[in-house]
Each structure stands twice: as C-alpha cells, then as structure tokens.
C-alpha cells in the first residue's frame, strides 16, 4: 500500500481493530487507488460489524452448549503410539475434563520438542532423543549380586543397553564416585563392584546403597520417561512422555519458540498466563478434532479466556471460576450450597441479582436477550 493512503486507513482506527488494519496494509496491492481502498475499507467494516455479537447475546451458555452437546458423542479415551510401550495419550472426554478442571496432575504429561536445524534431521534426532531421556542406573543393570560375607555389591550391566545409550562402565564410574562413601569401587568392562571399607555387621548399608544406586540418574533430563522421534512435515521432532519444560528449553538444540508441553501448570510457571491460554485452546481443539467433531474455536477461546482472566489458571470447578462469581445464589446453585450460604451469612453478603441463575431461581426475567433492555421515559 502506498504511504499516501495511510491517512485514509487512519480514519478507521476507531472502527476496526489494529490487527485487521495491519492486515489491510499488508494485503492490499500497492497500486491501489484511493477510491478502491475506500471501498475495501467499507466492505471490511461492514463484514466486521456483522461478525460482531449483539449485546445481550448469551455467549457463555452458547459456548457451554456447543462444547457440551458434542461432548456426549465422544468415544475413545486413550490413544496409543504404535510400537512404543507405555506411551499413550489421554484423549476424549477425560482429557477435556482434565483441561477444563485445570487439574494439577494430569494423566499423561507430554511434550513436543522442536529442534533448530540442523538438529531436526533423521540422523541427529535419535541421538538427541537418547540424550534427553532420563536413564536411571537401575535401567542399565542386568543383575545385582549382594554378597553378605564379603560385604560387597556387584552390578552387572546389560551391554546392549549401555551401547544404546552411548555409555561405558568408565563413564558410570565417573558418575558414581561421590555416591559410594565408605566403599571402594572396582570395575571391569561389564560390571562394577562396591566393597565395604572396614567391617560392619549391618547388612542394611549394602542394601541402602543398592537402592540409592538404582534410582541414580545416569543421564538425560529429569521427568522425561519416554522419547519418540517422529516426522512432522519436513522435520523431525521428539515426542516425550513426562515433561520438564524448563530444563528442555535451556538446551541449545531446542527451538524454544515452538516447543510445548501439555501440562497447563508447567506452561504457566515457565511461560506465563497468555501461553497457558493458548495451550488450553490448542489442547482442547486437538481432542475435538481427533474425535471428528466440529466446534467453533471461539467457544473454546471464551472458556480459555475465562480460565485465565484473573492472571492465574482457574478451572471450571467450585474452587476455580465458580468461586469467583459475585452472586451468592449462583454459587450456591452449583455444588456445596450450604457452605456458600453459611459463608455468605457470616460476611453479610448481598446478592444484587445481576446475573442469570439468580433470576431463574426467583423467577424474574433474566438480564439477557429480551430481558436486557429497559425503557426510560421522562415523567412529567
């Protein structure tokens, strides 16, 4: 668009949102005449006004019905990735409930890790995946031998697993140097032996050592239980079961602009409320699309906005969004009425009957739709 026309576009600043104006600036061909640009702006303005929702339209309830009704048709609660054990994803209604209730611990935490090129290619992706997968010493050991008379503990390693993780016994010895206090460490290329220094009658020390070693992290990132490299369009990404967004984002190979987790609270802590809102929308929409249902995304956006409106994540539960309602009667009509009534009485709360549920209860017109407008006349 020519700079001369900018004045004309400016005129619409009060009428149209900045995002739409920017788009017009970008999309309109630079050779456009002033008259034609005016027509375009008028057309856009007309379309924008018709798309706006009327005052008194019951958007929340329409959203609730639009999500709730298709929800009754949802089937298939989990989704499995072929070939990978213990890698399944909660989908369907259970997942929707999980998100809308903003549950602290979700059933299947997952991450999608995008990598910067050149790391996002076939040959490098496996290496990266193996690098981040949390590996405990116990996973690599094929046999523990506890010798009480000699007071020693021998660990035999699974050679193929060691190779898979690109580790040698020497590497492990490096890691374990600090762990075996009071023990001397011997090793060959397949096993490790801890021998207790001095005599001790207590077998417990050896046993405790074994348990400690078993849960020692050898490599990887805490919480990443499973990794699965998959192809997504032109690049390879890593899907994980188990999340640790903070540590993953610190890795230099990771494309931090696209990497996400499906854990709302983790996103909220690392990236903040706006990101959380987007994750809610994405995650819910993913489920709905997977079920082959068709729900307008704006319904989900409205729910996500409601959940994040206070700056922290609030679920659609009696502890979350509902507890924020101004009306005592509205709160009491949703779960645990007695608690709300008593607390309201203690505080001397007043219900101004400004919303829907209260007015249905006392059988007065609800302030929505035809019940919204009032008539003002001048009395003589």
């Amino acid at each position: 668009m020519k700079i001369e026309h900018e004045d004309l576009v400016r005129l619409y600043e009060d009428k149209l949102p900045a995002l739409i104006l920017d788009e017009i600036r970008k999309e309109v061909p630079s050779s456009i005449s002033k008259e034609k640009l005016k027509i375009v702006l008028e057309e856009v303005y007309a379309a924008y006004t018709t798309a706006k929702i009327n005052p008194g339209e019951c958007v929340g309830l329409v959203s609730a019905e639009s999500i709730g009704e298709p929800g009754t048709q949802m089937t298939l609660n989990t989704f499995h990735f072929a070939g990978v054990a213990e890698m399944n994803v909660t989908t369907g209604l259970p997942r929707i409930i999980e998100i809308f209730d903003a549950q602290k611990t979700i059933k299947t935490p997952m991450m999608e890790i995008f990598l910067n090129s050149p790391h996002n290619q076939v040959d490098t992706i496996r290496k990266f995946a193996a690098k981040i997968q949390e590996t405990l010493l116990g996973d690599l050991v094929s046999e523990y031998s506890l010798n009480i008379f000699e007071q020693m503990l021998r660990l035999d390693f699974n050679q193929s697993l060691l190779q898979q993780h690109d580790l040698s016994v020497k590497d492990i010895v490096q890691l374990l140097k600090t762990k075996g206090k009071g023990f001397t460490l011997q090793h060959d290329d397949r096993s490790l032996t801890f021998i207790q220094k001095g005599k001790s009658e207590d077998v417990k020390d050896l046993y405790n050592l074994k348990e400690k070693l078993r849960s020692t992290k050898v490599k990887g990132i805490k919480g990443i239980k499973q990794v699965l490299p998959v192809k997504r369009e032109n690049e390879y990404i890593v899907l994980t079961s188990g999340t640790n967004l903070r540590d993953i984002l610190e890795l230099p190979e990771v494309d931090y602009t696209r990497t996400t987790s499906n854990d709302l609270y983790e996103i909220f802590e690392v990236l903040g409320i706006e990101a959380t809102r987007q994750v809610i929308i994405n995650e819910v929409y993913k489920v709905i699309e997977a079920q082959g249902l068709n729900i307008d995304i704006r319904h989900i956006m409205l729910v996500a906005d409601t959940m994040g409106a206070t700056g922290v994540v609030k679920g659609i539960t009696r502890y979350g969004v509902v507890s924020e309602k101004a009306s005592v009667l509205a709160r009491a009509s949703f779960e645990t009425p007695i608690k709300h009534l008593i607390n309201a009485a203690l505080e001397g709360e007043v219900d101004y009957l400004t919303s829907v549920v209260e007015n249905v209860m006392i059988n007065q017109p609800v302030p929505l739709g035809t019940g919204l407008p009032g008539l003002i006349t001048k009395m003589k």
């Binding site: 008194g56 339209e57 019951c58 309830l61 329409v62 609730a64 019905e65 007695i338 009534l341 008593i342 009485a345 007043v350 829907v356 249905v360 209860m361 006392i362 059988n363 007065q364 017109p365 609800v366 302030p367 929505l368 739709g369 035809t370 019940g371 919204l372």
Partner: protein, 599 residues
C-alpha cells in the same frame, strides 16, 4: 500320575487321563453312571462334574466317523415306538456341558464326519434358542438383528392361554384372529405354535407413501383394520378387599352412604348393584366407581368412640383412573388368605389398531403406525393386490435384515401355491427355488409388481416389492401411554406440577431445556414457562422478611419482626424460592430481601 477331581474336590490319582475319562464316558453311555455326569480331561488332570447349574446340550454320539443315530432309530421315532429319552438311555444321544465340550470335535452335518469326530449336531440350528429359531431365514441376518427379532416376538399379542377368560392376568391382551405363519420354521411345529399363535399374515408393500412411514413408521390399510386386522382385546383386573383394622373395624364393600366422608356424586356410583359391585357388561369410563367401598375413619383413638362425628366412615372406592375406559367383563367374589372378602373385576376393552400402535415383522423390524389409509387411497398392484401394511425401504439398508426380504417372497409363494414354506435356520428352502416357483405361478420372479396410486390412479414409476409377511402386533399401545395436561394437580410442598402419567403430571422443562431458552435470549418466555409455581408474597420493607395480611384487622400487613407498624410490599416470586428462603431461615441465616423500586 494324573489328579482326579470330583466337583473340583481332589479324590485321588490315576495313571492316564484320557483312557480313564473315556472309560467313565462309556460307563455313562451304558447306563452304569448317571446321564448327568460329565467328564473333562487334560493331560494333567481329570474333572468329574456331577453338580447342578451346568448348562448342557444334547449331541449325537459318533463312533469311527459313523453317527450312532441310524435310519432304524428314526423310523422307530416316527412310529412312536421309542422316545427321545430312549435314545439317551441307549447311548445314542448324550448331554455335554461346557467343560466336556473341550474334549470333543463336533460335526455340523453328517456329510462332514471324519474318524476324528466324536459328536454330531442334531441340527446346525441348535446354536439358537427357541425364540430365535422362530425367525425364518435367520441365517441371512446379523446376530444382533436376530436377538432384536426374538425379543420382539415375546412382546407380540396372540393367544397366550386357552383359559384366558377365566384368568385375572395383569395387562393381558388377546389377538382376535391369530394365524399360523405361512413361512414357518421347524420349531413352530415342535413347540406347538399352532396352539398359541400370535400375529397375522398380511400383504406387505415395501414403499413410501407421503412420508407417513418414515423413520420406522408403518402405514396400515384402514379398511383392513375395519375388517378386523390386528384387532385385539385388552384385559385389566381391578381388585379390592375388605381389610381388617385394629379395634375390630373392617372395610365394607357396598354402595357408600351419602354421609360418608369423601362421597363422590350419585352418578359416579351408577353402575354399582346392591352389593357394591359393578354389574358385568357395564360400560365404564374415567371416574366411574367399579367397586364401592367404605373404610373406618383414620386415627381413631379410644376416646372418640362415643363421638358421633368420628363414627363417619371414609370413602375408599376403586374407580377408573384418568383416561381409562372399558367394559366390566367378569366379576369374581372370593376370599383372600386371611379370609377377608376379596372382589376382583376384570375390565375388557376392544383395541382397534390406531396411530401410534406398534407392529413388527419377525426380523427385528419394528415400527409405529403413522397413518391409517382407506382402501381406495392405497396404492394397488395391476393384479389387484392392495397391501394391508406399507413398510419403509429405508429400514432395510442400514439394518441389513435380508431375512425380512426373503420372507416376503417366501410367503408370497406359500400363499399362491397354498402351502407352508420352510424357513428353518440353515435348512430353509432356497431363495432361487422360491423365485422360480413364483415365476411359475405367473408373477415376476423378483417379487416386484407394477403399482398404481390409489388417489390419482396414475401408474407409479418404480415397481413395488410386494408380498405376504407374518406381522405381529406388539403390546405397546398408545391407549395405555397417551397423556397430556394443561392444568392439573400440583405437589403440596413445592406447588410445582406433579410428575408421571399416574398422577396426571406434566412434562418437565428441566435444567438443560431452561438453558436453551436462555441461549435464545427468550428471557420473558422463560419467566412465563416457570410461572407454574408463581406466588405473590407480602414482604416487610424494613425487615426484608415475608409476612401476611390479617383479614381480621382489615387486611393489614403483618411483619414477623415489626408487627402492624410496617410497610408491606407485594413481591412476586416462585414458590420454590419462597420455600428456599424458609429453609435458609431454618439454618439460622437471616435471608433479608432488600426491596427496591423496579422503575
């Protein structure tokens, strides 16, 4: 060494499992062991089962690839020289349970027999139960449709008992002209279906007619119905007894006196004879008393015995409920177990098929009558055939009940040739043969015929698939279910309409239905809909509590806190909310209404 268990209890060991098990089986076949014993052997253990509760089924025993059931046996059976039990006793047929079946190899037909086989099915149709085997050509269908079909048959009206006119069955119906199906299965003969038939053979056309049979509807020929098609009689018993109460008081069956508490009107008792019972063949309708009865007053304390007003008896007659009608068919006077007088009256009502009555074929293709069309308006074939029932073609494609289509051709052949057609599971007459026979009888071999519209006389574009079918009238009749209400009884506590047909209740506009009205913004319509329990309550402006108007003091408003000296305003609210305010007050919470002028 192999362990032996009798009814899952360890009893000992034998050297080899199989020879031992076979020996036991031979003993059973010879009759030395009970027929009810079953033996199950694995390489490790032998189980002998003699306990109750095992489902067992009969099979023909096979030795060296030869069935033990011979032509001689069959001849003897037909001549009536031997019975089924003789075959079991002779070791030709034995009953196996689920466990022993694991040690067998069962052939479906005699032609399949090899030396490895141990048993032979009596008929391959034995995989079905009796009701399922009543579905003709059942092997052409999905099992789920067979199940639905057999369930539907159980609900069919028919001739359920020959002594029905002496019985007092609840909710019983008799079909007026039941017929034996033209397409039958062998089970129809074995179970004596001719003695208790249900359903009738109807002319069925598979087509549409102005959409009156869409979504599983059926269209009936009104003229056929007037000639008695699918007509039935509905019986319903009404009973009353003279109960005894403490203090030697007793109910009395008689016409109530006029001074009885709760006396209805004289007209309501018009059908009662001197003994308080209705006379047979009286035509009764809603509200008419069938058995007149009075009961002693309630809560009679000893002091009141001499009180005259307390001696008034209570009316407790049995009358017809809302929407019911009928004819008193049979009046029985007898006694119950305690020796109290017991009266039973059976009501009879003729049920002519009407819109909303349910019909089904034997293939799980049920439908509800959408319209009754007079004969002159119904489409007819060029050969002059007028269907009794019009079935929708859309019911076939998704349900894939092929047997429904084959029965139609089969029964058409049967009706034209004057014979019964066999539709037994797996052994039915072949479809091709039926088609050939139909062609020989002078009809199109695919069962279709050219039809004309009865209203315009115009020939229809498509050829219509038409034939005979055995159709069943199901016991779900609108007459028992129809209900409507504009005003009516309300609940005492909430002042909201009652629920359910028996209480003449309304249909609830529930939470989700309420949401739809809100979503439409129809806020005033919603208020109007929920006005059923509307009340206007005087509220004290100062205390915010609900008061009342005292008519003894010039309708002065009385506030519960400030008495007469307060301004009261009439406030409109739902009674349910008033009730909630009361309940909140019982919790010790002062729910104050802050009044404010709306304008």
């Amino acid at each position: 060494m192999v362990d032996v268990y009798v009814n899952s209890k360890y009893v000992g060991t034998v050297d080899d499992a199989l020879p031992f098990a076979n020996e036991l089986r031979d003993l059973r076949r010879q009759g030395s062991l009970s027929e009810d014993v079953n033996v199950y052997a694995t390489a490790q253990e032998v189980h002998v089962l003699t306990d109750e509760g095992r489902a067992r089924r009969p099979l023909i025993i096979v030795k060296q690839g030869k069935s033990l059931l011979t032509e001689k046996h069959l001849q003897q059976l037909t001549d009536g020289e031997i019975t089924w039990h003789d075959l079991v006793r002779q070791g030709v047929i034995e009953y196996l349970d689920a466990a022993e079946e694991e040690n067998t190899l069962v052939a479906c037909s005699e032609a399949d027999l090899t030396p490895e086989h141990t048993h032979l099915e009596i008929t391959p149709g034995a995989i079905c139960g009796i009701t399922t085997a009543l579905v003709p050509f059942g092997n052409y269908n999905q099992p789920s449709r067979l199940i639905i079909g057999s369930k539907n048959q159980k609900q069919a009206l028919g001739f359920y008992a020959a002594n029905y006119h002496l019985r007092m069955d609840m909710d019983a119906s008799i079909l007026h002209y039941p017929q034996f199906p033209i397409v039958r299965t062998k089970i129809h003969g074995v179970t004596g279906y001719g003695e208790h038939p249900s359903g009738q053979n109807m002319i069925v056309a598979v087509m549409c007619y102005d959409g009156y049979n869409m979504e599983d509807g059926v269209i009936l020929n009104k003229s056929s119905v007037e000639r008695g098609l699918a007509r039935s009689t509905y019986f319903q018993p009404v009973s009353a007894e003279e109960l005894r109460y403490s203090g030697g008081l007793i109910d009395e069956i008689s016409i109530p006196d006029k001074d009885v508490k709760g006396y209805r009107s004289e007209k309501d008792y018009q059908f009662l004879e001197g003994d308080g019972l209705i006379y047979p063949e009286a035509k009764v309708s809603e509200g008419d008393v069938i058995i007149g009865r009075t009961s002693p007053p309630r809560f009679l304390s000893s002091l009141d015995e001499y009180n005259l007003s307390a001696a008034i008896r209570r009316e407790s007659s049995i009358s017809l409920k809302h929407g019911e009608k009928g004819v008193a068919d049979l009046v029985v006077l007898s006694e119950n177990e305690e020796g109290n007088k017991l009266v039973q009256v059976r009501l009879r009502e003729e049920r002519i098929p009407e819109i909303g009555d349910k019909f089904t074929s034997r293939h799980g293709q049920k439908g509800v009558t959408g319209i009754l069309i007079p004969q002159q308006d119904i489409p007819f074939s060029t050969s002059g055939i007028i269907p009794d029932l019009i079935f929708t073609p859309h019911g076939i494609s998704s349900r894939m009940t092929v047997s429904h289509l084959i029965e139609l051709i089969g029964a058409k052949v049967g009706a034209l040739a004057g014979r019964y057609v066999d539709g037994t599971l797996f052994e039915a007459e072949r479809e091709e043969e039926l088609r050939k026979e139909l062609l020989k009888l002078g009809f199109s071999e695919d069962g279709t015929e050219v039809f004309n519209d009865g209203r315009t006389g115009k020939q229809m574009l498509a050829r219509i698939y038409v034939g005979n079918m055995h159709y069943l009238r199901l016991r779900h009749m609108v007459a028992n279910k129809i209900q409507s209400r504009a005003r009516g009884p309300i609940q005492l506590l909430t002042r909201q309409p009652t629920e359910g047909k028996a209480k003449e209740g309304g249909l609830r506009l529930g939470e989700m239905e309420k949401d739809t009205l809100i979503a439409h913004g129809a806020s005033l319509l919603l208020k109007e809909r929920f006005d059923a329990d509307r009340v206007v309550v005087p509220v004290c402006e100062k205390s915010g509590l609900m008061g009342y108007y005292d008519f003894r003091r010039n309708d002065r408003g009385i506030s519960p806190l400030f008495g007469e000296n307060s301004d009261m305003s009439d406030i409109e609210m739902s009674y349910a909310f008033k009730l909630m305010l009361d309940e909140i007050r019982t919790m010790g919470i002062y729910a104050k209404l802050n009044l404010e002028n709306k304008y």
